[in-house]
Symmetry: C2
Subunit: 329 residues, 2 copies
DNA sequence: CCGATCCGTGCAATCGATTTCCTGTGGGCG
DNA sequence: CGCCCACAGGAAATCGATTGCACGGATCGG
C-alpha cells in the first residue's frame, strides 16, 4: 500500500508538502494539483495508525454497555455509532454483560487503544476503573446510568413527567393496587423510577406499599417472571404492574399468560423502555419511552465537548408515555 | 502517561530490554524482575498505537452488518465480539443500514484503520469495495450472506434439514397451502431458503405455486405485513406462512391479528431466525433457529486462519427447527 | 590457559505520518 | 535599485514501540 513518501516522490515534492496539502494548509493551486493527482493515481490513503501516533488523537470513541442484547442498549449503541460516524469518529462498542470485572477489563482495553473519549452505561455501582480513567485524563460521559462518586457528566432520561402521566392514566382507569418490578436494588436508575412513581401515585391517593414492590435478582425475563409470581401470590394481588426494564416486563407477561390472566382485563402492564416489538405484542404494551436516539446523540456531543477541553454538564431528557392497550381503554 | 523510555530509565536498562521482557523474550530472572517492578510502579501500559505502527498489526477486527437493530444481527455481533475478545482482538462494529453506499463507506473506514481482518454480512449484492478489500490483501470472511464474485470464505447456516423437517411438520398437521414471504429478490439467502423449502414440500406432495410466494420490498415488519395482506386477498389464501426473516414474520402476525385471524387455528406461522422474544409471543412462534453463536465463533476462527496466512474454506452449519405452538399441535 | 561459542543487552534503524525550524525566492516598498 | 518581509516548501525531529546487528562477558572445550 502506497505511503506518503511514494506520493511525495511521484509529485516531486517533500512529504511535508503532501501532508500540508492533505490537511488543507497549502493553498497553492499548482503544487496542490500535482499532489492530488499523485494521490489519485496511487490510490493513496493516509495511515491512520501513524497519524494517531504523531497527533496523539485516534478519532475513536469507546462505548461500554451492560447488555448489548437488550434492545434498549442496541438502539442506544446504534444511535451513538451513527452520530459518532457523522462527526468523523469511529466507535468501539464493548459489551460488559452486567459483570463489573468484564466492564473494567473492557475499559482497560479501550484506554490502551488510546481512544479519545469514553461513554459508559455502567453495570452495577461504580467500578475502580472508571475513576482511574477520569484521573488519567480520559474524557468520560456516563450514559443512562449515573454512578455515584465519579466526576463525569451524565446523559440520561428523566421519567418524572411520564410517570406522573402514567399515575393519572392508571387512576383514571380505576386501577387502585399498582405494583412495581424493579431491577436489582442499589441501581440508582431503578430506585429513582420507583420513587418518582410512588410520589405520582400519592397525588391520586393511591398507595404503593413495600409489599407490592418486588426486586428482581437480575434484569431478565426470568427475573421478571419470578417477581410477578410473588406479587400474584400475595394477599392483595395488584391490578397493575410497572416493570422498570423491558425484559422484566416480558417475563411478567409470561407469568400472567401461564396463569390464564388477561391483559388488560385482569392486569394492566406497563414497561419502562419502549422497544419496537412492544407494539407487536398482544395486546400492544403501554410503555414509558426513553428518547433513545436523542440520548445517544447528546452523549456524543457532550463527550466531544469534553474532548475539546470545554466543560460540559449533565443532560436530562424527558421520557414520554406511549399509551397502547395494555392498561385498558 | 508513562512510556517505555520511562520504564527503561527506572529499571536501569534499555528500551529494547523492556520490550523483550514484556514480550516474553528474556528469561533472565533478575533483569526481568527489575523491569516488571518499574512497570508496576509507573503503571505503565504499552502504547497500542505505536506497537501497531511498528508491527503492522492492529489486533483489531472489523464487522459490518446490514442492520444492527435486527435481533439476529445483534446476537451475531455479540457472539463475534466475545470470541474476538477471548482471542485478544478488539472489534469495530459497523452498521450498514441495508445501504450499499454506507456499507462501502464503512469498509473504507475500517481499511483505513488498518484492521487485521474483516467480516461482512453484506447488504444487497456485492459491492465494489469488497473486491477492492480482497485485492488489497485484507483477509475477508463473508458472514451469513454469500456474495457472488467475491473470493472469500463464507460462514453461514444451511437450512436444508430444518426446512425438510418443517415441511414434514406442516404436512403432518394437515397444512396443504403453504406460502412464503421472502426478502427482496436477488439475495441469495432468501432465494436459497425458498428453493429448499419448495423441494422439501414437494416430497410431501404439497405444491408451492408462485402465487403463494411474496417478495417484500424490504426486510421489515411493514414489508412483511404488506405481503401477508396480498397473500390473504388472493383467490386461494394460504393456511401456513413461512417468513424468511424475523422482522417480516412480526409484520405478518400484525396483519393476521388485525383481521381477527387466529394463530395457529386459522394460519400456521413460522419464521426464519429464532430470536429470544419469539418464545414470549402468544402463541410462541415456531422458528428455524440459526446457530448464531456458533456462526459468530466460526467466522472469527476462519478469519484468524486467513490472517495467519493459512487457507480456510467456507463453513456451513446446520439450522434446526424449534417447534413451538404457532403451527398447531 | 587460551580461543570459540553463546547469550544477554544496548545501539540505532524503522514504521508513516505531522510539525517545527529554516532556507530561498519573489514581490513590494522606500 | 536595494532591502526587507512574506511565504512556499524542504530537511529533520518526533510520536512510542519493535527488532536486526553488534558487542562484551561468561562458559566450556581443547
Amino acid at each position: 500500500m502506497a505511503n506518503i513518501k511514494d506520493v511525495a516522490e511521484r509529485a516531486g515534492v517533500s512529504t511535508a508538502t503532501v501532508s500540508r496539502v492533505l490537511n488543507g494548509r497549502s493553498p497553492v493551486a499548482e503544487t496542490r494539483a500535482r499532489v492530488l493527482a499523485a494521490v489519485e493515481e496511487l490510490g493513496y490513503r493516509p495511515n491512520v495508525v501513524a497519524r494517531a501516533l504523531r497527533t496523539a488523537r485516534t478519532r475513536t470513541l469507546g462505548l461500554v454497555v451492560s447488555d448489548l442484547r437488550n434492545p434498549f442498549f442496541t438502539e442506544l449503541a446504534d444511535a451513538v455509532e451513527q452520530e459518532a460516524r457523522r462527526l468523523g469518529y469511529s466507535l468501539i462498542i464493548g459489551n460488559a454483560g452486567e459483570s463489573p470485572e468484564q466492564q473494567d477489563d473492557y475499559i482497560r482495553t479501550l484506554l490502551d487503544r488510546r481512544i479519545d473519549g469514553l461513554m459508559v452505561s455502567s453495570a452495577g455501582t461504580g467500578s475502580p476503573m472508571l475513576s482511574e480513567a477520569v484521573d488519567a485524563g480520559t474524557p468520560l460521559v456516563l450514559l443512562d446510568r449515573a454512578v455515584p462518586g465519579v466526576a463525569a457528566p451524565c446523559v440520561r432520561a428523566e421519567g418524572g413527567a411520564a410517570l406522573t402521566e402514567l399515575a393519572a392514566h392508571l387512576a383514571a382507569l380505576g386501577r387502585r393496587r399498582p405494583a412495581v418490578i424493579v431491577a436489582p436494588a442499589g441501581t440508582p436508575t431503578g430506585d429513582e423510577r420507583l420513587a418518582r412513581f410512588r410520589t405520582a401515585l400519592a397525588a391520586h391517593g393511591v398507595a404503593l406499599p413495600p409489599g407490592r414492590v418486588g426486586a428482581s435478582p437480575d434484569p431478565s425475563p426470568a427475573g421478571g417472571r419470578q417477581v410477578m409470581r410473588r406479587l400474584l401470590e400475595a394477599a392483595e394481588p395488584p391490578d397493575a404492574v410497572l416493570a422498570t426494564d423491558n425484559l422484566m416486563a416480558l417475563g411478567a407477561l409470561d407469568e400472567l399468560r401461564a396463569r390464564g390472566l388477561r391483559v388488560p382485563a385482569d392486569m394492566a402492564l406497563v414497561a419502562f423502555d419502549d422497544v419496537p416489538w412492544f407494539a407487536h405484542l398482544d395486546p400492544p404494551l403501554t410503555a414509558v419511552a426513553q428518547p433513545t436516539g436523542a440520548l445517544g446523540r447528546a452523549a456524543v456531543h457532550t463527550l466531544l465537548e469534553r474532548i475539546a477541553g470545554r466543560p460540559a454538564g449533565s443532560v436530562l431528557l424527558p421520557a414520554r408515555l406511549v399509551r397502547r392497550r395494555s392498561c385498558g381503554e
